[in-house]
Amino acid sequence: MSFVFYILAAITVAGALAAVTLKNTVHCALALTVAFAGLALLFLELDAQFAGFAQILVYIGAVAILVVFAILLTKGSETPKDGVYSRHWFSGLVIAAGAFAVLGWAVIKSGGAVPRGPDGTPTVTVLDIGNALMSRYVLPLEIVALLLTAAMIGAVLVAMHEKEEKK
């Protein structure tokens, strides 16, 4: 655990905390982006280039923009005075803990799946990731692609429905 790790961890945790405690929804979204960036830098610090860059590209470049667009296009950024805290926070906590447990279990179990260098650290290049995605994991990749296509067609249908009603 190096010095850099503590700085990045502090940034990430602070961003995540700000995202759930700030009042203004757009501020929350921007704070969440800070948490995303901190996570990406943590990946990079662990020498996982592909994961880090993909995190920036997908989460900061696309998801954060989508979030702010959704906020602006629906209710506006003005939040009610009595706060935005949900009363179902306990069930949220249980679901988050469950998701974390499953992910942690998967990560611990996958220790043998990656090639390791002489000092025990995994040595995975972008080329390896590409090869794995196109050979061993090609079925999950295609399923994800199908799911995303279905979601996109659904979004287009929702948008088209509105147009037909007008006529």
Partner: protein
């Protein structure tokens, strides 16, 4: 001698770093390279503003700036002093922190793109394994700063400009990425240095740049269109269309913060030109094998400045697009063509070295271009505007 001129900046850095103790040398080398990038590109920006104003004036039959210094070449110095001494006005209802952070985030994100560009032989700050991915990742985060600027100003023109800018940047990022993917497929690497090396071969004195292949030419043209749009340059400068939105997302910025936005726009132009040069125009390699004695960095910067010249030329020549035309063009014309181009690149890869691949790829791309254009014109998508939300 030619070898030494080629590597002059690398040698200079080694020599300067040599004065320091062993333990500091690696860090000092990085700091020196970063300082060079941070000094060089703003200097180029200052030069380019004069160049652009002069060029536009020439296109419009005017004289252009000619008062400060010889031929007006010290105009950027005067402009810089002006923007530093101007009052920094923040609207009373603006969101102070976000309003302040937006230009900073923009300039930082744009500067980071230069880290992976190979500007000459052995002249790259970070030779990342996934350099191209890094470039697009930091490029995508500029969208957020544009949104921050527009939203935090609490001004309808700012917000409209920001929404337009973000919608435009997202739409054109898809063709930008997909036209680059064709290069990655052929070069077999995401590392920008490897992509340059893959193009640095010569047959009969002529280079193997990707622009000289059917898929490369098509890819380069689409990359150039998407890059113009990504940098919000004319004819895609709707986000700051002054006749309708005052100045778009930076309406409420004055003084040095406005200068930072201006700097960010030009730096984005330099970095996207550098990427286009690296991907399609052979990066730092010479255009003819007998010109190999000219230092590699001269070629890189010549190609970048040539692209900047084309940007200025387009700005002086083309009228601005309309919002619906912009979106139709991105999603219904450029995107299908980039997808066809991916198929053409795959065919190029697997058809072997003969003449067949030239015929097949050219035919596929020409047919796709003609067919798409014909179909779109027939359906009238490029015709009069249909008002959907403003009836």
């Amino acid at each position: 001698m030619t070898e030494r001129m080629d590597q002059i900046f690398v040698l200079l850095r080694q020599w300067l770093v040599g004065f320091l103790p062993e333990a500091w040398q690696a860090a000092a080398g990085v700091v020196l390279s970063v300082a060079a990038i941070v000094c060089l590109f703003p200097a180029l920006f200052a030069l380019t503003t004069v160049f652009e104003r002069k060029g536009l004036a020439r296109i419009q039959n005017r004289i252009g700036p000619n008062r400060v210094g010889p031929f007006g070449f010290f105009q950027p110095v005067a402009d810089g002093i002006k923007s530093l001494t101007k009052e920094d006005i923040v609207p009373i209802s603006a969101d102070g922190v976000v309003h302040f952070l937006a230009p900073v985030v923009l300039v930082v994100a744009v500067f980071m793109g230069f880290a992976v560009l190979p500007m000459g032989r052995n002249m790259v700050l970070v030779d990342a394994d996934a350099g191209l991915l890094f470039f697009f990742a930091v490029g995508a985060s500029t969208e957020l700063s544009v949104f921050m600027a527009g939203w935090s100003s609490r001004n309808k023109y700012s917000l409209l400009g920001a929404m337009r800018a973000v919608a435009q940047m997202i739409s054109y990022e898809v063709p930008l990425l997909l036209s680059s993917v064709a290069v990655v497929m052929i070069a077999g690497s995401l590392s920008l240095t490897k992509i340059v090396e893959a193009q640095n071969h010569y047959t009969w004195g002529l280079p193997h740049w990707y622009i000289f292949t059917p898929w490369g030419l098509a890819g380069f043209l689409m990359f150039a269109i998407a890059a113009t749009s990504e940098t919000n340059r004319s004819p895609f400068d709707l986000p700051e269309g002054e006749s309708e939105l005052v100045a778009g997302y930076h309406t409420e910025y004055s003084g040095f913060k406005f200068a930072l936005f201006f700097l960010g726009e030009y730096l984005a132009m330099f970095s996207i030109s550098g990427l286009g040069t690296t991907l399609f125009l052979g990066g730092w390699s010479a255009p003819f094998s007998w010109l190999g004695w000219v230092p590699s960095w001269i070629w890189f910067f010549s190609k970048v400045m040539l692209s900047i010249f084309v940007f200025i030329w387009l700005r002086g020549t083309l009228p601005r697009l309309r919002q619906d035309q912009l979106m139709n063009f991105a999603w219904k014309f450029v995107l299908p063509l980039t997808l066809t181009n991916l198929m053409a690149a795959a065919a190029w890869r697997f058809l072997g070295d003969g003449w067949e691949r030239w015929v097949v790829c050219s035919a596929v791309l020409a047919l796709a271009y003609a067919g798409l254009g014909w179909a779109e014109m027939r359906r009238g998508h490029f015709g009069p505007r249909s008002y959907r939300y403003a009836e």
